[in-house]
Symmetry: C2
Subunit: 274 residues, 2 copies
């Protein structure tokens, strides 16, 4: 059984992502922080790690881009999870008993309009984690409060579902990366993630994208992050369709190498279906 | 006297940025949130607004990119502030009296190593704001606690400086944008900020950078943000050297317009000296 590290309590959306990537038969390793997920994979305590990398509404989780650069870890897969929030309570608690709603600040924000209709006078209480809000109700036995978390948290902690689909925007998806110690050779449609830096001269980024454009290779994402110690210079994280095992992608990377001051392949992996 | 809105308490680093942009004779308008700063400029309560847009260590303040898109506000200037943290206390309090250190979580993190040497047993207490931590000491009269904030907060609240340059990394700069209701015509070296979206086809971003590369126009920043309602598609925020009043920049923008599905100029403004 594969052991998969993720940030958050049991039942977190990252655990849903781990199940979506590996199936229900995983041994979950909940971690307190993202650096701990990277460390668990690096030192072998976990076979794989799963980290969120971007949300369709709020954008990238930039801290995890920085951690990809700091660790010699490989990206071996990606998966996405529709973020659907449930209103959870201890069994027997009814909607009209709820005076307080606990969850991660971002989840509370994502459900703000719905909550105002459903529970106009309830106090919103920010806590450290979505699944963690269910843990608090369970451990402290609150019968005047509800938690906002995902379906997996509801099942793990045996909570009653008072309401479903609380999120104000249904287009709420999070994309996750799967991390491993060894690179994989993807079969079928693949994606590759790289990071590079270029000389700080006019046209430098344009020249770095040229090897891909010339070969019709589709860039699916570009993200810039500060280059430490070089004020207002940047690292570029780029995802493209294709694998380093394909000739045209290898050629593009070879050409790119000559135009960069730093280039690292973070991984080629199966591309998720749309 | 110009009235300048910024997020945070009096003495915040954003107020330092406002003074750096407009000189010491400003009427400061502290706001609780970034949207409130945009609103204060839009409805005329303030002449200008000042918002942080990126930090040299932690990267962009992405929320403010989204707000630039949501509001019809113009960027009319930029400035940068060296983020230097001071250890502040009420007059008469000595370093050996300090049991707790209050500040914004990011400031506490940025001073972690120094604090461990200086005050190894002090408790670190996260609060909502750097300057706000000085306000708390002042209002609640704590004589066993210190605050971490900037020099301006020390002066405004009449605090004693127990230690200077607490930040672990000296390369800690924040770049701020100045917002106004009307565009300006910059004299001398200029910078322009734009936002665009392109068709989701291979080579699209490359083709959007081409009009600048072909004219030797230097891109100083590119940032991607989610395009709402189009999962895993992006808006690109680009800064380039030059002004919309220069022919070659106007030509580049004209050419770019034909390659984008959306293009907006956020402003041309004097480029800060390096």
């Amino acid at each position: 059984m594969v052991e998969v590290a993720f940030q958050g309590e049991r039942g977190a959306f990252s655990e849903e992502a781990a199940v979506s990537a590996f199936g229900p038969e995983i041994r979950p390793l909940p971690c307190r922080s993202f650096p701990e997920v990277f460390a668990a994979v690096a030192d072998g305590r976990a076979d794989y790690g799963v980290i969120p990398i971007e949300n369709s509404l709020t954008g990238s989780i930039h801290r995890n881009y920085d951690l990809l650069m700091e660790h010699g870890i490989h990206i071996v897969g990606e998966t996405e999870v529709r973020v659907s929030h449930l209103l959870l309570a201890l069994p027997g608690v009814r909607l009209e008993d709820v005076r307080r709603v606990l969850s991660h600040p971002q989840a509370l924000a994502q459900c703000e309009r719905t909550l105002r209709t459903l529970l106009p006078s309830a106090e919103l209480v920010p806590v450290y984690d979505t699944a963690g809000s269910a843990v608090i109700l369970r451990e402290e036995g609150h019968r005047d409060a509800a938690a906002i978390a995902g379906r997996r948290a509801a099942e793990i902690y045996g909570m009653t579902v008072l309401a479903e689909s609380l999120e104000d925007s249904p287009e709420n998806y999070t994309r996750f990366l799967v991390l491993g110690r060894k690179p994989v050779v993807p079969e079928g449609p693949a994606k590759t993630s790289i990071v590079f830096a270029a000389e700080n001269v006019p046209g430098a980024l344009y020249r770095c994208l040229e090897p891909f454009a010339a070969r019709g290779i589709d860039l699916t994402k570009i993200e810039s992050r500060p280059l430490r110690g070089r004020r207002w210079e940047y690292l570029f994280y780029v995802d493209f369709a294709g694998s380093v095992h394909e000739g045209r992608c290898r050629d593009a990377l070879e050409e790119l190498r000559g135009r960069t001051t730093l280039l690292r392949v973070l991984g080629s992996y199966p591309r998720m279906a749309r």
